[in-house]
């Protein structure tokens, strides 16, 4: 039997971006129950921008992280739950608030070149015995060698799993192979993970390339929920893996049913697709969760979202800089007027 690749569902966290963080508790319970039935080992539950993401900048969620976690976790039979924490947004105190709710995995995310802001959070999570993941976002912005250097810091703080995160959905399979391959070589005793976005339509191909280069964990979401054009659609990835003889140890039919019968009706017309805006994100290398904010700025100020996103790409903005969107829109408006 080949090694089992662990899939990590993002529908309830990255998927929050797709509907401006407005999942009801029932949406979360229904989705997580469907994932549990399909034997998805890990499910992430938090605001789209992680613990304490609730803000004017990123959007206020319908419920608090604690409420979502308390609704989902007690009903799960098989799946375990992770939380995301972005230092600079969430703190160790936020982690303490949720750790007694039955969370098993803590993922600490930084921009790919700024791993050293994660020391407090990774050290705390590892010290408390969590499955602790270091998550390097916007990984297309550094070389494979530089990514390894940053990942070493996270490993040093205590992370047992290290991620290459394609937050912009900008990578192509050969880049994924090179980056995951070098990570595999540099960290023989750590788990290596890949998180993709479908903005260039490459999420499934990229995730497959990651597995072939030695990745142990792959992020995805049911029906491709997630920022931009969404994450790797899990049911599609599972079917492809089955054809390739890659063992995910999940129930493919149950995943397909979850996507069609549970996930799609919840999302309705907000179901992510490779829209003009999402494609622009992937093309220009821009953080995927900027999409809805840019569309909102277009509506308010009359500047095309594509122009705003391209400008944000030129300025090399990073994850979390949603406040630049209205600023740039107003600047473009003045320059154009």
């Amino acid at each position: 039997m080949s090694k089992i690749i662990k899939i990590h569902d993002m529908s309830l966290r990255d998927g929050m971006h797709s509907i401006a963080h407005q999942f009801t508790l029932k949406n979360m319970v229904d989705l997580s129950q469907a994932l549990d039935k399909a034997r998805v080992p890990l499910i992430e539950v938090t605001h789209g921008d992680g613990l304490s993401g609730d803000s004017v900048n990123y959007g206020f969620a319908l419920h608090k992280d604690e409420e979502y976690l308390s609704a989902v976790i007690p009903k799960l039979k098989y799946s375990k739950v992770s939380v995301l924490l972005i230092p600079g947004i969430g703190t160790v105190d936020h982690l303490k608030m949720v750790e007694d709710l039955g969370v098993k995995t803590v993922r600490v995310a930084t921009h790919c070149s700024e791993a050293d802001v994660s020391e407090q959070h990774i050290a705390y999570a590892a010290g408390r015995g969590f499955d602790t993941v270091g998550f390097l976002m916007m990984a297309h912005m550094l070389s494979a060698k530089e990514i390894v250097e940053q990942a070493k810091k996270m490993a040093g703080y205590g992370a047992n799993c290290l991620y290459v995160t394609d937050s912009s959905g900008h990578m192509l399979p050969e880049e994924v192979s090179a980056k995951i391959g070098l990570m595999r070589e540099a960290f023989p005793n750590h788990e290596i993970g890949f998180h993709g976005h479908h903005n260039l339509g490459m999420a499934v191909a990229n995730s497959l390339a990651a597995v072939e280069a030695g990745a142990d964990r792959i992020d995805g979401s049911i029906a491709g929920f997630g920022a931009g054009a969404g994450n790797t659609p899990l049911e599609v990835f599972a079917a492809v893996c089955d054809l390739k003889g890659i063992n995910l140890d999940v129930d493919l039919s149950a995943l397909m049913d979850a996507a069609e019968d549970v996930a799609t009706p919840i999302m309705g017309d907000k179901l992510p697709r490779v829209s003009r805006g999402a494609l622009t994100l992937g093309y220009a290398g821009v953080y995927s969760s900027f999409l809805l904010h840019a569309i909102r700025a277009e509506k308010k100020h009359g500047v095309p979202a594509r122009e705003i996103l391209l400008e944000l790409g030129r300025r090399k903005t990073v994850g979390g800089q949603e406040d630049m969107i209205e600023d740039v829109a107003l600047e473009l408006l003045r320059a154009g007027g």
């Binding site: 600079g88 921009h111 090399k316 903005t317």
Partner: protein, 295 residues
Amino acid sequence: MKIRCALIGSGNIGTDLLYKLLRSDVLEPVWMVGIDADSDGLKRARDLGVKTTHEGVDGLIKHIEEDNIEIAFDATSAYVHAENSRKLVAKGVKVIDLTPAAIGPFCVPPVNLDEHLTQGEDNVNMVTCGGQATIPMVYAVSRIQDVSYGEIIATISSKSAGPGTRKNIDEFTVTTSGAIEKVGGADKGKAIIILNPAEPPLMMRDTVHCLTKTEPDQEKITASVLAMEKAVQAYVPGYRIKEGPVFDGNRVSIYLEVKGMGDYLPEYAGNLDIMTAASAKTAEMFAKQMIKNRT
């Protein structure tokens, strides 16, 4: 007459502050304290004729009386500040805290420096760079009408964030959030910090979002915000409103940029300047008061 000062911490902030104190009419930097004799900050201090020690605050304490040190700036870290402050205050030194330790009351000069002058505290805390840049604006809105929620996003260039800031990033968000409430006047405060590694480094940017309890009075708020911009520019010339105030329902948003004076790090590091300029201004006001009381 000048009041004699010591700087504790020879990193980015301490070194930038040194240059500002050297230009002061009422403050004289006499000592600079570090923990590494080879640090760039201590080297520069020695070249500028300032006495240095690399033995931490204990290396300074024994010279306080003979060198008549009356004000000390602590730019070390939140973790060692309490001990430093205890030792200095015991010697009768007034402490200006540039770490996020926040043992003493928060000081944001254009908002509450006058209060601190009348209260004579031993230790005042300068919040954080993001706090100094944004809390004046939260206050500029809250002095017009009630703010139920104040949120700030501080974006700084990676090059201007030293190891101390990175290691203790939680202290930034916690201390700044607290000061948005206590000094800014918002019922609830939230702070977010982002490091951006772009080259060439980006100028410090800060966004302020206030949610007002009733519909914002656009004219009054705009006038108050513009007056506050001028008040901050009096000690940080590179401080400016880039966009706004933008009104959207009960949301008031102000987009700021802080260009530094290029004393230690280049102009992009406005986050250093706003912190050190606010601290120098605070110390100068204390010094003027000390001088006045003596004459």
